[in-house]
């Protein structure tokens, strides 16, 4: 055993020596996706290094909740990695405006992304792009196909069909109709409100209306979405008020519930843990409405640290990230994170393929509070969390919750003030 170790360590030393001798450049990626560490190390980075043997890339993630604070500290101290994983909208915009992220306007390959894809990592006037869009996440519903088969149910497409399915599951009594809790708040807001909402506020039309001040949270589609969410209350599991996001994932994986309001990133979790057939249906449309809208939220991108010592190698890596090859690799390695590239992508996972297929059937929009509206205090997104949870906990009526969110926005956002 000792001999083996000795041989191995000698080999290691030799290998490091060889690597150094070849004059390689090392790049470090900062990221919050510590769940994806093995995928980057085993799949994505080897594919890049095979083409560019003189660039050595290290994926160095931190915990999601600590990422923003840790990254800021590292950038201020000048110790951050060469490549920075970008949060959407204001957090990254702030980094660019402080001079920490380099402009990528002239990066070859940026033409492979559409305007919507780039919208999360561009200055308000559209003059500078500072991150290469990587992926978006789509909302919808994942269901337990075994339970649907057992109860003879079909995928609902309209709101009344949706409630018919829920009533049937509730009547049967064995399974929880909707697996969702309000403990973590964001689950109610993101998987609930932002999931079904775009159908009520007509996607981009409503979202842009909020930004220019012509739409309000307490009337029209945004209010209807709160009302629709409140109607879920009878179908949630016992004690849903104390149910966390992890509880929901576990409960659905264990087959305790039939329908799971999902973000597409949940697909890989259920693929790993659930031993039943999965199915997916998109957010049901209100009866009689022809058009459908989905939340296709630009979530993750990659930018370059303006202070990097290896700007050329970093740009080479970013350029590679714009290629269809990367788009295919990434989308298939991480089912549920859908590439924002215009390239044609073949997805192997049927549920992931179903999610991404909705892009061609429905109009896409992003979460309503992310662009511009979460710059002030109170934070619009955090208000939506509290309001969505309160509506489901029945501590506020939909009207009260909508008034609270609208009132918060009117405190500081000029286009919404005094109207």
């Amino acid at each position: 055993m000792k001999k083996v170790l000795l041989v191995l360590s000698v080999l290691m030393i030799l290998l490091t020596g060889i690597a150094q001798a070849q004059d390689t450049v090392q790049l470090v990626i900062e990221s919050w996706r510590n769940d994806d560490l093995t995928i980057w190390e085993d799949t994505i980075l080897p594919a890049f290094e095979a083409q560019y043997p003189n660039i050595d890339v290290v994926f160095s993630p931190s915990a999601p909740t600590e990422y923003n604070a840790a990254l800021n500290a590292k950038l201020e101290g000048g110790t951050a990695g060469d490549l920075i994983t970008c949060r959407p909208f204001d957090l990254s915009l702030g980094l660019f405006q402080s001079g920490y992220l380099a402009s990528l306007n002239d990066l070859p390959g940026m033409e492979n992304f559409g305007d919507v894809a780039k919208s999360a990592w561009i200055t308000d006037d559209g003059s500078d792009v500072f991150c290469v869009p990587m992926a978006s996440v789509i909302h919808g519903f994942i269901y337990n196909a075994d339970i649907f088969a057992e109860l003879g149910l079909e995928e609902p497409t309209t709101v009344s069909e949706f409630y018919a399915v829920l009533d049937a599951i509730k009547e049967n009594g064995q399974y929880t109709p909707i697996v969702m809790g309000t403990n973590d708040q964001w689950e109610a807001a993101t998987m609930g409100y932002q999931n079904i909402g775009p159908n009520y506020w007509k996607g981009e039309e409503g979202r842009l209306g909020l930004i220019d001040g012509t739409a309000k949270y307490n009337e029209g589609g945004f209010l209807q979405a709160f009302e629709a969410l409140a109607a879920w209350q009878p179908y949630l599991g016992d004690g849903y008020q104390a149910q966390t996001y992890a509880d929901s994932q576990n409960a659905f994986s264990l087959g305790l519930g039939a329908i799971y309001p999902a973000g597409s990133w949940d697909i890989s979790v259920f693929r790993a843990n659930a031993d039943f057939e999965l199915g997916a249906f998109r957010p049901p449309v209100p009866d009689g409405q022809a058009d459908c809208y989905i939340s296709d939220h630009t979530d993750i991108a990659m930018g370059m640290n303006a202070g990097t010592e290896n700007p050329e190698a970093a740009r080479t890596f970013l350029e590679w990230m714009t290629t269809p090859e990367f788009a295919n690799l990434y989308s298939n390695a991480l089912p549920g994170f859908f590439s924002l590239s215009n390239a044609e992508i073949q997805l192997d996972d049927p549920v992931a393929a179903e999610f991404v297929g909705w892009r061609s059937e429905c109009a896409s929009t992003i979460r309503s509070a992310y662009q511009i509206l979460s710059r002030g205090e109170p934070n619009n997104e955090n208000d939506l969390w509290a309001a969505s949870a309160a509506v489901l906990n029945q501590s506020m009526t939909p009207q009260e919750a909508a008034d609270m969110v609208q009132n918060g926005l009117e405190q500081w956002y000029e286009p919404q003030m005094g109207s």
Binding site: L91, A242, Q243, D247, N382, A389, Q411
Partner: protein, 306 residues
């Protein structure tokens, strides 16, 4: 005439230096700097810190957005403290009195069992209790007993008291040990003399034991106070920094964390965070001073009179 002046006691300086230097560097300086930070604000135009006097404190207590948060956190913190004072410390005293009795068998076993939770990781404690009280996974425990548990950690009315009791469960061993050490230290002669004079068990406890361990009672009280107003970890691990549900478990510690570091899309504000920390410091300072100038002084006087 120059008397034989004692040389400057250099050894005192040498012995004090490590503690003074380390304490100053890592405790006093950061504390003062944090207080300084709370008197500054960030100029949005330049991004520089500028002196703002007590503006931040005024904003914290009068602004329509901050006021409900800080007052809520204060109120919750006092409730949290009250739970510990009314449940943890009397319980610890009862347990210590029982365990100091010579007529109870297996005292060391009980002592160890009761003390064990306080050496466990807080993350573990929060996780275990969340599982036990979870409406989904706790069913397996309570269903055989015929109990359907309400979502204790999910209702604004019950979440804080529940977490307070979890905290009591975890920490009751520490004051118990302090009381026990004080009780064991009471000379047997005093108790025997009281017995000879005809005092009952109750009488001995109220008139002999309790007065003699009063200094410990005071210390435990002040430790509970400081610990509770600095509390953060249990709420953070169990209810996240948002202090679910609906801020009903928000303590000054979690409010500070959200303000200073930011949460999700809300960016952190070091100056407002330092302001919340300043309020925490003031409260603890006032509490400890009350203790020093009333309780401890009276004890000192009593000792002198004795």
């Amino acid at each position: 005439m120059p008397s034989s002046r004692k040389p400057f006691p250099i050894h005192i300086v040498v012995f004090l230096a490590p503690a003074v230097i380390i304490y100053t560097l890592f405790m006093i300086y950061p504390l003062l700097d944090s207080l300084r930070l709370s008197l500054n604000t960030v100029d949005p135009a330049t991004g520089n810190e500028v002196y703002a006097g007590l503006q931040n404190y005024q904003r914290l207590f009068t602004d329509a957005l901050w006021q409900p948060r800080i007052l809520g956190a204060l109120r919750n913190n006092f409730v949290f403290f009250a739970i510990h004072m009314l449940v943890q410390n009397p319980l610890a005293l009862i347990l210590a009195t029982l365990l100091s009795s010579r007529f109870i068998r297996g005292r060391t076993v009980y002592r160890t069992l009761i003390f064990t939770p306080s050496v466990l990781s807080i993350v573990l404690i929060a996780f275990i209790w969340r599982l036990i009280l979870s409406p989904i996974f706790g069913k397996a425990l309570f269903a055989p007993l015929g109990i359907t548990l309400p979502p204790l950690l999910g209702e604004p009315a019950t979440a804080l008291p529940t977490l307070g009791l979890v905290s009591v469960w975890q920490w009751v061993g520490v004051p118990m040990m302090l009381f026990l050490a004080a009780l064991i230290g009471i000379p047997d002669e005093l108790i025997e003399a009281a017995r000879v004079d005809g005092a009952t068990g109750w009488g001995v406890f109220w008139r002999i034991k309790l007065p003699l361990i009063l200094p410990t009672v005071g210390i435990v009280g002040v430790l509970t106070f400081v610990g509770n107003f600095n509390a953060f970890d249990l709420i953070y691990t169990s209810q996240t920094a948002l202090a679910n549900p609906a801020f009903s478990t928000d303590l000054l510690g979690t409010l500070f964390y959200r303000t200073f570091f930011g949460f999700q899309l809300q960016l952190g504000s070091p100056t407002m965070g330092a302001t919340v920390a300043g309020v925490m410091f003031m409260i603890i300072l006032i509490g400890v001073m009350i203790y020093m100038f009333t309780w401890q002084r009276r004890l000192l006087r009593n000792t002198v009179e004795l």
